[in-house]
Symmetry: C2
Subunit: 237 residues, 2 copies
């Protein structure tokens, strides 16, 4: 295995920290032993693997996107993120999730709770953003993520006789509502919640109630945390 | 109100990005309109408030710890973080939580789910770390956080006849276990889980089961997400 990188090669890998170059090259980067092992075991095409012990600490520090360069990095071929929506099973729709940490954490927990497909609105953060990728802890290699128009997706689920759920501050207590085994669960953005265009397509408005006993409390939950509570409630029944 | 800051004053505020100076000055910083409003409404002592419109964008950019300087910042007096442990109610114990985002998110959701006190092991990240403070979304001004020895705390709860719970990969299905209204819930670190010294004090070992249907899945949940699922399950009953 070749263990030297030309300056041009280093420059190319470094360029993958920017969306522009990820898009034009169709590649993204994963770091860490666990992540690289999961990439290799998946059906993603791993283009190259670089080990710190072989290329040296200084070169790894130049190509790594982490503050302390990891022992191993892989350059992976991106998969297309648009595909016809599939209707069925229990799916998530993310409406305007901008924070890569939240987006990646949601993919990780969707994997844990057996969600079939994760749909994302076009204004969500990019799946192959390095912070998203790392926050998935490998779930990115197992879960299907499709960017699409969320209001149209909601209509497609309802047309198929499936329910569309969402969490709202004026929804009905999630712990006391009937929840179906299949359907679409919409989660809204960190700052604005579910957008009005999507909200009007939701027919199951849910609320995660606060238990502060009437004392002043946080106005909302972090979106990854709210997704976890919601999926837990759908799955435990 | 004085709207000019001397260079020395700017230097002092900037120094609060470092734990060393937060400790020696006993001060910390909060940013954003919501956070500053919550600080002012709380029983924390707000030492000074600086508005971007008054001091100018450039000065705010120098004292802000955010990538885009917020419209308002407050310097707040820290409260002592050691106190005798109180036994009773439903409490959280955090064992080695290192990530400030996770720590702050857990305080925010403890607020939502009406947790009485949050105990933290001495090796947890510092409460007044700016990333922790911002992730609490204001809950830091409402919740009591006490740093203490967690094994001793567990023994104190058990001596008082209260149960000590924790999540483990070999625990019992949380959805099928009896959960008491009072007690202590231990959450372990991001990388190592609950430490062995603490684990032997836990008498209610819980598991959040995966619903991946036997397919390979994430090995674990993010600790903030696991805390959310656990608290939701304790509170809904």
């Amino acid at each position: 295995m070749d263990t030297t990188l030309s300056n041009n090669h280093i420059k190319t890998i470094r360029s993958l920290s920017s969306k522009k170059f990820r898009d034009s090259l169709g590649l993204f980067v994963v770091e860490g032993e666990k992540m690289v092992a999961e990439a290799l075991a998946s059906d993603f095409q791993v283009v190259e693997v670089w080990k710190r012990d072989e290329i040296g600490y200084d070169v790894m520090a130049r190509i790594s996107q982490l503050s302390s360069p990891s022992p191993v990095m892989a350059v992976v071929k991106a998969k297309p993120l648009s595909a016809p929506a599939e209707t069925g099973g229990l799916c998530l729709a993310l409406d305007g999730i901008r924070d890569p940490g939240n987006f990646g954490t949601i993919i990780r927990l969707a994997d844990w709770f057996g969600v079939d497909v994760i749909y994302a609105s076009p204004d969500c953060v990019e799946l192959y953003n390095p912070k998203t990728v790392q926050a998935t802890m490998g779930a990115i290699f197992r879960k299907k993520v499709i960017y699409c128009d969320i209001p149209a997706l909601c209509r497609q689920f309802r047309k198929a006789g499936l329910k569309v759920y969402g969490t709202f501050l004026d929804g009905e207590d999630i712990y006391a509502q009937p929840l179906s085994k299949e359907g679409l669960i919409v989660m809204g953005s960190e700052s604005r919640g579910i957008s009005p265009e999507v909200a009007k397509e939701v027919d199951g408005k849910l609320l995660i109630p606060s238990f502060s006993g009437g004392a002043p409390t946080a106005e909302s939950l972090n979106v990854a945390v709210a997704t976890a509570v919601t999926l837990s409630e759908f799955r435990r029944r």
